[in-house]
């Protein structure tokens, strides 16, 4: 992945006057890979195109940073008036009473925990499958079906989430009922499969929601992983084959070590999508008045779906502020997840 600059340095120093695209001096192209030499940098010609492109690129980067910053400021600005009126601890309370602005009590704990559990469950289901898809597409798949299959998987990402929601609620939930019942009766001693606050008959549980979510994030993880696995240097693969490795051993010794960081960052992208997913969970998950118990058969609402559930009846800015405060927590959570993914990827490169 990162060996391009290493090879380009000797090339450009060998042929200092090589002019690629017909520029009269050719010096602009050459400065890229060359170690800094005072005479060369002084002569660098800057054309309008450079300036325009440079400022467009810088502008885009600045714009996105400003937008993110503005979102953060907006969230804090709108959340503070509600938080000031909150009579319970926002981070540790399970209540959600926002109707009367003079008597508000709302906490994000349940929402946060449901969001985390449903997303991690989806990730745990999607990661191995996505890895299998990516490896199949790069190593095992006959050439003829590779492209169509990759298309079909990418197509999964194009299905609107409301369709996933309806499918999950109307088709998948009844279909999963026997599976859920079996897990609950036979593995109920395990906390994740213990009887929770959602009814297994109804199917509006984290279990159903997590499976739908797994299907939704699968294409993201599979696509990113495939792109990275495809770039495994042929020399690595051939070296492994030369040592007598079977195809599985090639995958294990060459492809996976090379693509691990890409796989992980793809998974984190998927997790990011899962954390913020609204519409599908809004339709599938049944809410409950009981506290969350870390069971897959609990009901509840995620932070995003709670905001969607409340949106239609906001009466004033302060009530909306309570929901925005929850949104702020989601914003921070997503930020932390992405930062962690960056750190993992950066750590793996060395």
């Amino acid at each position: 992945m990162s060996d391009a600059p290493v090879t380009s340095v000797p090339l450009s120093t060998d042929e200092p006057t090589r002019s690629g695209t017909g520029g009269p001096t050719g010096s602009t192209e050459d400065t890229i890979g060359t170690p800094p030499s005072p005479e060369r940098t002084r002569k660098t010609v800057v054309r309008p195109g450079d300036r325009i492109f440079g400022s467009l690129a810088t502008g885009s980067a600045v714009l996105i940073s400003v937008i993110i910053g503005a979102i953060a400021v907006f969230l804090v600005w709108r959340a503070v008036p509600a938080l000031e009126r909150n009579q319970v601890n926002f981070l540790t309370s399970r209540e959600w009473i926002t109707q009367d602005v003079a008597d508000m009590a709302f906490g994000v704990l349940d929402l946060f925990q449901v969001t985390v559990l449903v997303s991690l469950f989806a990730l745990a289901l999607a990661m191995p499958v996505a890895l299998g898809i990516a490896i199949f597409l790069t190593m095992y798949c006959p050439d003829r079906v590779r492209k169509p299959l990759a298309y079909v998987i990418d197509l999964l990402a194009a299905v609107p989430s409301i369709v996933y929601g309806l499918w999950g609620m109307l088709v998948l939930a009844p279909f999963l009922r026997p599976v859920a019942e079996w897990l609950n009766t036979n593995l109920g001693w395990f906390p994740l499969f213990a009887t929770g606050s959602g009814s297994i008959m109804g199917g509006g549980t984290i279990f159903t929601a997590g499976i739908v979510l797994a299907v939704m994030i699968l294409p993201t993880i599979a696509a990113v992983s495939r792109e990275v696995f495809v770039q495994t240097p042929v020399s690595h693969v051939e070296a492994a084959l030369a040592l007598g490795a079977t195809r599985w051993e090639v995958v294990r010794t060459a492809v996976i070590p090379f693509g691990k960081s890409g796989y992980i960052s793809g998974s984190m992208l998927g997790l990011g999508r899962a954390l913020g997913e609204t519409m599908a969970l809004y339709l599938i998950l049944r809410t409950t008045s009981q506290p969350f118990s870390w069971s897959l058969f609990d009901g509840g609402a995620t932070i995003a779906s709670k905001i969607a559930l409340g949106y239609a009846e906001f009466n004033n800015d302060i009530q909306a502020g309570a929901y925005i405060a929850a949104g702020l927590v989601l914003f921070v959570l997503t930020f932390v997840v992405n930062a962690a993914a960056r750190m993992i990827v950066a750590g793996k490169k060395d």
Binding site: G202, L283, Y311, A312, E313, N315
Partner: protein, 374 residues
Amino acid sequence: MNLERKVALLGAVAAGALTLAACGTDDNSGSVDVDASASAATCDGKANLSSAGSSAQKNAMDQFVSTYIAVCNQKGANVNVAYNPTGSGDGRTQFAAKQIDFAGSDSAITGEQAAQAAERCAGNPAWNLPLVFGPVALAYNIDGVDDLVLDAETTAKIFNGSITKWNDPAIAALNEGIELPDAGITPIVRSDSSGTTDNFQQYLETASNGAWTSGAGSDFTGGVGEGAKGSAGVAQAVAGSPNSITYVEKSFADQNGLSVARIDNGSGPVELTEETAGKAIEGAEFVPASEGDLTLDLSSIFGSSEEGAYPLVLATYEIVCSAGYDADTAAAVKSFLISAATEGQDGLAEQGYVPLPETFKTRLTESIDAITAE
């Protein structure tokens, strides 16, 4: 993949998309059979009105709009009203922000919001005009039981968890001779904030003799049960879970084939029909406020113990400016509301609503006529 194949694939996708698009005809104008000559609608003013709010009145609004379009077509005017069912709170907010011409809402505009609305109406008060009434059914799913009687007190106790079994003595006392199962009750409630929940809880607060203590509001406060999304969601949830009960607009209960409980309002069990719900509305009283405003005193409906009156009725308002519209908008709003209050009411029962009783209609048209431009 060569070019030819790509083109073929594209063609196939396009053909598929067209086929799907063809299924999606959603033409709600025309084809309405009304006699425009009897209509008092003037079809004056601006051609396109915009409105948003309560999703509970969406189907009624669709009918009002298609009737209005048909009437005005016959009178040679081309009009439209865009109603966006984004929720009552959102409708009121948009109205106060002057983004729409009038709002549909499950509860009257009051307090701080009314002040904001008055500002929007150039200093004139906003009026709450009750135009759409929808009876709310107590829909249940118990194997072998298709006739159940409940009263407000037992309903309140079911929905706050003090009664947990179907064969509880309190329920049995209301249903002599009916064998109720020894099974736990699963109350299903709305997970989204909604005016239906608000009205249901206000009903329980008014009529349950103090059994309902957790207050009203558009979020369910009873502390038990499972929440499903929207009226369609709760009706589906009840259809899919034995021994469950919910409160839902009658049309959704009917669509899902659910049994509906009769409500004992103190003078005997009342079945939910167009007539019984209409009777409760006829007895409605108004909050004495400014002239023209028709905010309902809901306790007069919910607390009704008149024989044969079904008390659990969701009243939804249109929120308009009493004055302060520009002339074009005022004319169009009046024309549309008049049409909705008169010929728009025909066939409303089939949509699961209660048509306005005659006495009520008179009162309403007086208020609509009193809307002025300024």
